[in-house]
């Protein structure tokens, strides 16, 4: 293998132990026989690689952990606060709805119920009145006809009355 290729490998895979055993042996064989490449490999190792690999592992000050811990705790408190408030508000609404606290509330409910029943009742009465008005008109019309044709007016009335009864059944 020529020196240029060997030096490329020295700058990367050979120095970093990334070569397979065959390639590793080829480079080592070349280095043992080539002074220039041997010197190149020694210079790289002693001036660049060794100082970097001896570089200290640095420790952060303890204040870094304290800051991280308090930030996380603050973050968790902020998340919990709105949720707790929502639960309290919901609980309060439920209490108002399910537990009658004041007589005024009970009076209000009863009044509303009466109004509702009354409204429904009124609707029925109005409908009845409309029907009665219509039927009275029909009776008057039939009475007129009866008066002209000699029919028993009571019969006609009783038919209508039966119809009314059927209507309200």
């Amino acid at each position: 293998m020529e020196c240029r290729k060997i030096q490329k490998l020295i700058l990367s895979d050979y120095t970093d132990g990334e070569l397979n055993s065959d390639s590793q042996k080829q480079v080592q064989d070349h280095l043992s026989g080539c002074a220039k490449c041997g010197q190149f490999q020694q210079d790289l190792q002693s001036t660049i690689i060794d100082p970097l690999r001896k570089a200290e592992l640095l420790q952060p000050p303890e204040s870094v952990w304290q800051t991280i811990k308090s930030t996380i705790e603050d973050r968790e408190t902020q998340t919990a606060k709105p949720l707790a408030e929502s639960i309290d508000r919901f609980r309060e609404r439920l209490r108002v709805l399910l537990i009658p606290r004041k007589p005024a509330f009970a009076v209000a409910v009863v009044t509303i119920l009466i109004l509702v029943v009354g409204i429904f009742s009124k609707v029925s009465i109005n409908k009845r009145n409309v029907l009665n008005i219509y039927l009275e008109e029909q009776i008057t019309f039939l009475d007129c006809l009866d008066a002209k044709g000699g029919h028993d007016s009571s019969y006609a009335g009783s038919d209508i009355e039966v119809s009314l009864e059927e209507l309200f059944l």
Binding site: L11, S12, A55, L58, Q59, V64, I68, K69
Partner: protein, 183 residues
Amino acid sequence: MKDVPKDTIIRAAEGDMNAFEEIYRIASSYVYTIAFRVTSSREDAQEVTQDVFLSVHKNLKKFQFKSSFKTWIYRITTNTAINAYRKRSKERGRKVSFDDDISTHDPAETKMEQTFDMQHNEALVRAMLAGLPSDQRVCVILKDIEGLKYKEVAVALKIKINTVRSRLKRAREKLMFQRKKKR
């Protein structure tokens, strides 16, 4: 970074703060180291670390164990750190260099027991990383400082393995050239 037990991840996702602290204790130094090496600023690195773990906490429930948890954290870290670096660069109107870090260095954080060699090495590492563009810098950090394999770097950065290889090669060529110039 050692693996985080699956049970710990599940408990943390369910809101167990003690479990989340376990995750923090395992991963924080790796996250902070990447953040510092990318941004060259302790202040920014602390902010990035906070943002990373807040993001992890927020999204834990969505993690479905389809990929490695370690790789997931690395991905969040590199994205957050690069964004912070770019934001700082825009604010300052120029690329952040090693010299800028001098003003943010907190002498109180320097360990008294650090040897001269360690201090010298640290200065050398910072100078090397400061001379690289951010895409190459991140690859060098993940490979040489964090010890990830090519495939892990590729997954963390969402790039192809060949892209990892070529960025590392170009970064190392550049660093060797700079070292030769200084001699």
